[in-house]
């Protein structure tokens, strides 16, 4: 596969070097602000769930949960907890006015049929061509669990990934080619990370914003296609 650089487009790229990397809630708020008003959105389990806390109620954004609901509200607390009303992570949630319930085949038809505007997923790795790996580490002791990740990845019109750009050990999670088993090929639209927001495009990975680092520094740390473009 031809290697690709992280591309700087002067009209697009903003390097925020006067601050540190984004904290998880800052990242969630950034994503929430970028989701167009009126969108139908699925937030994956784990970190992406945080995005819900930052959505503007006036935006008209409707949350889909794959276990069978549109119009999901915030997490249920105290007396609100109802064992028959949970999200995809099995956490009790609430319903908002205008909510709808449906069975599993309908819920996944919404994904596969291209009806969801945006999904936000976590990832182990994303490749420079938008391949996503987020369900299985392939380790002998790992119990594989895919859930709805493959359906969301191929179905949603825009697939946003929310992750740190590097693992705790410093290994890049944006890579030339994924070494973990794929969830879907070429599906990622945009990467939201603590250090940069990056678009996956036919021209390469375009840096939109960086936080606490320059594009040049990130290229060097990532080792993604240094010296080519």
């Amino acid at each position: 596969m031809a290697s690709r650089d992280i591309v700087i487009e002067p009209s697009v790229t903003v390097e925020h070097t006067d601050r540190g990397p984004l904290a998880p809630d800052e990242l969630a708020a950034l994503i929430a602000g970028d989701i167009p008003a009126g969108s139908y959105v699925n937030l994956g389990i784990g970190q992406p769930t945080r995005v819900a806390d930052h959505l503007d109620p006036a935006s008209g954004i409707v949350l889909h949960t794959e276990n069978g609901m549109l119009g999901m509200g915030p997490a249920a607390l105290g007396d609100q907890v109802d064992p028959d009303l949970t999200n995809a992570g099995k956490i009790p949630v609430t319903e908002l006015p205008g909510a709808a319930y449906f069975h599993h085949a309908d819920s996944f038809a919404m994904m596969r049929g291209g009806h969801l505007d945006v999904c936000v997923l976590g990832a182990y790795q994303v490749s420079v061509t938008g391949d996503l790996a987020n369900w299985h580490t392939g380790e002998p002791d790992d119990i594989p669990a895919v859930g709805g990740a493959m359906d969301l990845a191929i179905g949603a019109r825009s697939v946003y990934v929310m992750m740190t750009l590097f693992t705790r050990n410093g290994a890049p999670k944006l890579v030339q080619a994924c070494t973990y088993p794929l969830t879907a090929a070429g599906c990622v639209t945009r990467l939201y990370t603590d250090l940069a927001v990056l678009d996956v495009t036919p021209r390469g990975v375009v840096a939109r914003q960086t936080f606490g680092a320059t594009v040049a520094e990130l290229r060097a740390r990532l080792g993604v296609a240094v010296g080519t473009s």
């Binding site: 276990n67 069978g68 997490a75 028959d84 949970t86 599993h104 996944f108 119990i143 669990a145 191929i154």
Partner: protein, 239 residues
């Protein structure tokens, strides 16, 4: 015609060793715990179970697995923080796992009940979970051929049934019930309550009684109470 039976044990009568059993529910929501408890009491073993998950905690499906009754599980998401009974059996090589992407699982179940011979789906193309399967390019997009998933029995939970077996569900506990009911030779439903014919508004019937064989009233959902987000956070986890 749907038959109203007196006890959960009557409801699961005839489930033989080695049967394929669909069990409704997504986590605890919609899980037919009374029917699963009766299945354990019935003694059936060597079962092939179809469920979204692989049980959690100490009740319901987790208990069935812990009792060593499940030979093989077909599911999409077996890995949870409290799925220790499945984890233990899986790592000991005592249970087989067929992992299916969740939408393919749902559509395979739906296809079985709808008389579809097979279908092409984009989900899973180019991944480990489509290895060895037929593929086809249609209008520039790649698809994988998937086959229907049938069962000898479906055990599901609904909120209200009428005496004809028409069903209404409650909130996200609906999940797999409406697609599993048509996909099994014998469909068994536990409900909170049974109302006379005419007691359900026909406009609000979700599963028509034609798909239902046995109904048993067991009262409100009896599984372990769901944990609230606050309770989870105190355990050091994020929701």
């Amino acid at each position: 015609m749907a038959e109203i039976v007196a006890t959960p044990l009557d409801a699961v009568a005839g489930i033989a060793d080695g049967a394929t059993v669909m069990i409704g529910g997504f986590g605890d929501a919609g899980q037919p715990v009374a029917l699963i408890d009766a299945l354990i009491d019935s003694g059936a073993s060597g079962l092939v179970v179809v469920n979204n998950n692989a049980g959690s905690g100490e009740h319901g499906l987790a208990r069935l697995i812990a009792a060593g009754r499940v030979r093989r599980i077909i599911c999409s998401f077996p890995r949870q923080t409290d799925s220790w009974h499945f984890d233990e059996k899986y790592r000991a090589g005592e249970i087989e796992l067929e992992l299916v992407p969740q939408g393919n699982l749902a559509e395979r179940i739906r296809a079985a009940g709808a008389g579809i011979g097979a279908f092409y789906t984009p989900t899973g193309f180019g991944t480990l979970l489509a290895e060895g399967k037929e593929t086809r390019e249609i209008d520039g997009r790649h698809y994988v051929l998937e086959y229907p998933l049938r069962a000898d029995f479906a055990l599901i939970r609904a909120d209200v049934a009428d005496e004809r077996g028409n069903l209404r569900y409650r909130k996200t506990a609906r999940n797999f019930g409406p697609i599993m009911a048509p996909a099994a030779t014998t469909t068994v439903v536990e409900v909170s309550r049974i109302v006379p014919v005419g007691g359900l508004d026909p406009e609000n019937v979700v599963t028509p009684g034609i798909y239902v064989d046995r109904i048993v009233a067991v009262g409100p959902a009896g599984g372990a109470p769901a944990r609230s987000a606050g309770e989870r956070r105190t355990r050091g986890e994020r929701p």
